[in-house]
């Protein structure tokens, strides 16, 4: 059996990769993908802890399924926003959308 620390390391790495991507990339689609990475790292945590701490229960798995579903919905909304942004700004560069500055 893989020790839990490995899995936690994996999920942490995944989370910070996602965070790094979110903070550095300027393309909105890439940023969205980075968010998905962070969400998935959370999913991994849920499943792993469920498996190792409460083997008889399925709560963590349910949470993962919920998160996946919500992430899908969120992706749909985000893409709709991105499309609208593209229509109005002719670009999907995140820095272009700075009307709320100051």
């Amino acid at each position: 059996m893989v020790p839990v620390s490995h899995i936690v390391l994996l999920s942490t790495a995944l989370f910070f990769i996602g965070m790094y991507g979110f903070l550095t990339r300027k393309n909105l689609i890439t940023m969205l993908m980075a968010i998905e990475l962070m969400l998935n790292s959370v999913n991994i945590n849920f499943v792993a802890f469920n498996k190792y701490l409460y083997p008889g229960k399925l709560d963590g798995v349910f949470f993962s399924i919920f998160i996946i579903a919500i992430a899908a919905a969120e992706a749909a909304v985000a893409i709709a926003i991105i499309i609208n942004l593209y229509r109005s700004h002719k670009t999907i560069d995140v820095d272009a959308a700075s009307e709320l500055k100051n």
Binding site: F22, L23, T24, M31, V94, A97, S98, E99, K101, N102
Partner: protein
């Protein structure tokens, strides 16, 4: 049901007039406002006369006294079952008398104003204000409790303010109206505290209950009021003195008289109504209303006596040197009210000793007629010459025969020449003070001599002194509506003295037989005639006599001319003491501490916001970074600091 239900209409009709003319007058009845107001008041006056007839002659005495009738009573504000404020109409001899006086004089003024105020742009507003004043004054006199009286007391103050400042384009009128309001308001502060003291110890606001409680020597309230003391003076004396302070403010008694001469900035008929016959006697009325309490409390009665006597003398001296005819009349009013006040001061409660009370009310009654007559005559004169100054007048008897006669009669009445109205009432006052104290009598006699002098100085200056001036295109005495009130009031000024007043009004409610002492009245009449003779000698013809007399008593003359510097004293106190030592520090505290702390909070918020404004960069990734940093901070904090 007590047969007096119609009295409520005496009050309501002027109020209806006020509401109607106040709301719609300017638009719909600007021409007919005078007729509407006068018609309503005619009905009101007729009802008042009917009430007086019914009260004194139909229902009459009950067990030897005139009863106090509650014509109307309802609870206005109910705070708790034990504490409520009532509204009501109480009829007793003095309130019935005042109903007649107020409605009658008000009616005369309404009629007079038809001519006097004709062509005025705010004609309807003027009549609306007159209606408001009449209503409030009537409600004041019929009040059944102290609080109702206080309320309408303030309301007459407001209407007086509105009418003094009627010509609001004139800065002096605005200043005068403010002065009148502030001075009387200051006095009313004392009145309010006095009411609270009396109501606290009397366990009620109702006049009858208070008087009953505080005159019963064994009652708990009386004992508490007498034993509680502040600065060595009992609570009862404080209460009565403070109530008297309110009355002194309204009645222009020294030292709160400064507003009355300035109040002459208002239209002259208004001065006749408010500042001669009705509102200014409210203070006398108030003392008379609470007289059973005053009569048992020697200290406060002495204050009433002293203040009244001093004001009477002071005002008479000042009146001798003023040149504005309305101001002379104003000081004369103050002097006469002083007479009424000290007449109350020398009075006792029952029987013969109560003569002062009867005399005071009698003088109030007759004074209302001849003083409003004097003012209306002055109004007619001013209407003709368009000036208040004596030097612009003289020899006017050729142009205004009716006014001349009316003015002469009123002057004779106020001077106390028989058989005119003032003679009888003044005689009673002098007799009452003679019975009480020789010094009071001498001062009163001197004052009545001065009264005769300054009134005839006024008379000769207006109607004689010079040859008739050449006035082109003058309107003479004005229309009939201005002459009619003069004629009616002249008749009253002649006849009012013959009413056997003591039969109707006395301190204890029992009819008082007033005796006429022929020998006693010789001296006052001689004094008055002397005053008239001096005035005739000095003012009949233009001559140097006035100047030489003025020069011979230089100090007194200039002091009197400058009203004994009371105004200057007030100015000094307010400017150099109150404004400088109280007003300025308070303003500083307000600006620097109260406002300052608020301003600093706002400034601080502004500064902090400016410095962190840069964080609002509009860049999503920057926000995300803050967010992550915040989470990281909280994480570390939770793990290592707030474990």
């Amino acid at each position: 049901m007590n047969g007096y239900e119609h009295t409520v209409w005496i009050l309501l009709l002027p109020l209806i007039g006020f509401v109607l003319l106040g709301l719609f007058g300017k638009k719909y009845f600007n021409k007919s406002a005078g007729i509407i107001g006068t018609a309503l008041l005619t009905i009101s006056a007729a009802l008042a006369l009917l009430t007086a007839y019914q009260y004194f002659f139909v229902n009459g005495l009950m067990n030897g006294v005139y009863p106090k009738v509650q014509a109307l009573k309802f609870t206005w504000l109910m705070f708790s079952p034990g504490l409520s404020i009532d509204m009501g109409i109480m009829l007793d001899p003095i309130s019935v008398m005042m109903l007649v006086v107020v409605t009658f004089v008000s009616l005369m003024v309404h009629i007079f104003s038809l001519g006097y105020m004709k062509g005025e742009e705010r004609f309807a507003t003027y009549y609306a204000f007159l209606g408001l004043f009449t209503f409030s004054m009537l409600a004041l006199v019929v009040s059944s409790n102290l609080f109702q009286m206080y309320m309408f007391w303030e309301l007459v103050g407001v209407s007086s303010y509105l009418l003094i400042g009627f010509y609001f384009q004139k800065p002096s009128a605005v200043a005068a109206s403010k002065k009148a309001f502030i001075v009387t308001r200051f006095a009313d502060l004392g009145f309010l505290i006095g009411i609270l003291i009396l109501a606290y110890y009397g366990r009620s606001l109702d006049f009858n209950t208070i008087i009953q409680t505080l005159t019963a020597q064994q009652s708990q309230g009386y004992l508490a009021a007498v034993s509680a003391s502040f600065l060595g003076v009992s609570a009862l004396t404080w209460g009565l003195t403070l109530v008297f302070m309110g009355g002194a403010g309204k009645s222009a008694m020294f030292p709160l008289h400064v507003w009355l001469p300035d109040a002459m900035e208002g239209p002259t008929p208004v001065s006749a109504l408010i500042h001669a016959a009705t509102m200014v006697v409210a203070g006398v009325y108030l003392v008379a209303r609470l007289f059973p309490l005053f009569a048992l409390n020697g200290a406060s009665l002495t204050i009433v006596l002293t203040v009244g006597l001093f004001s009477a003398l002071l005002a008479a001296v000042i009146a001798c040197t003023q040149t504005d005819i309305k101001r002379v009349l104003a000081y004369s009013t103050m002097s006469q009210i002083g007479f009424m006040m000290f007449a109350l001061g020398v009075s006792g409660y029952s029987g013969e000793a109560g003569l002062g009370y009867t005399a005071s009310m009698f003088h109030l009654f007759t004074h209302a007629f001849f003083k409003s007559l004097l003012f209306l005559c002055a109004g007619a004169v001013i209407h003709l010459v368009h000036s208040n100054e004596m030097k612009d007048m003289g020899g006017l008897r050729k142009y205004m025969p009716v006014t001349n006669i009316a003015f002469l009669v009123a002057c004779l009445a106020i001077a106390g020449i028989p058989p005119f109205a003032g003679f009888f009432s003044k005689e009673e006052i002098l007799l009452a003070s003679y019975n009480k104290d020789m010094l009071v009598y001498i001062v009163a006699l001197l004052t009545s001599g001065l009264t005769a002098f300054y009134m005839f100085r006024l008379y000769f200056s207006i109607f004689f002194r010079k040859a008739a001036p050449d006035i082109h295109g003058h309107q003479g005495e004005g229309p009939f509506s201005m002459k009619l009130p003069l004629i009616i009031l002249t008749i009253c000024a002649i006849g009012a003295g013959f009413i056997p007043f003591g039969k109707f009004v006395s301190a204890d409610g029992k009819p008082l037989e007033t005796h006429f002492h022929l020998m006693f009245s010789v001296l006052p009449v001689i004094v008055a005639l002397t005053g008239i003779a001096i005035a005739w000698w000095m003012y009949k013809k233009e001559s140097g006599k006035v100047e030489s007399v003025a020069r011979s008593m230089i100090g007194l003359y200039s002091a009197s001319k400058n009203k004994f510097y009371v105004d200057e004293l007030y100015l000094f106190i307010t400017k150099n003491i109150i404004f400088k030592w109280i007003g300025r520090p308070a303003a500083w505290l307000d600006r620097k501490v109260v406002d300052g702390s608020m301003n600093e909070i706002a400034n601080g918020t502004l500064e902090v916001s400016k410095s962190i404004r840069g964080m609002q960069s509009g860049k999503v990734q920057r926000y995300a970074l803050y967010f992550f940093a915040g989470i990281a901070f909280l994480l570390i904090a939770f793990i290592y600091i707030w474990k």
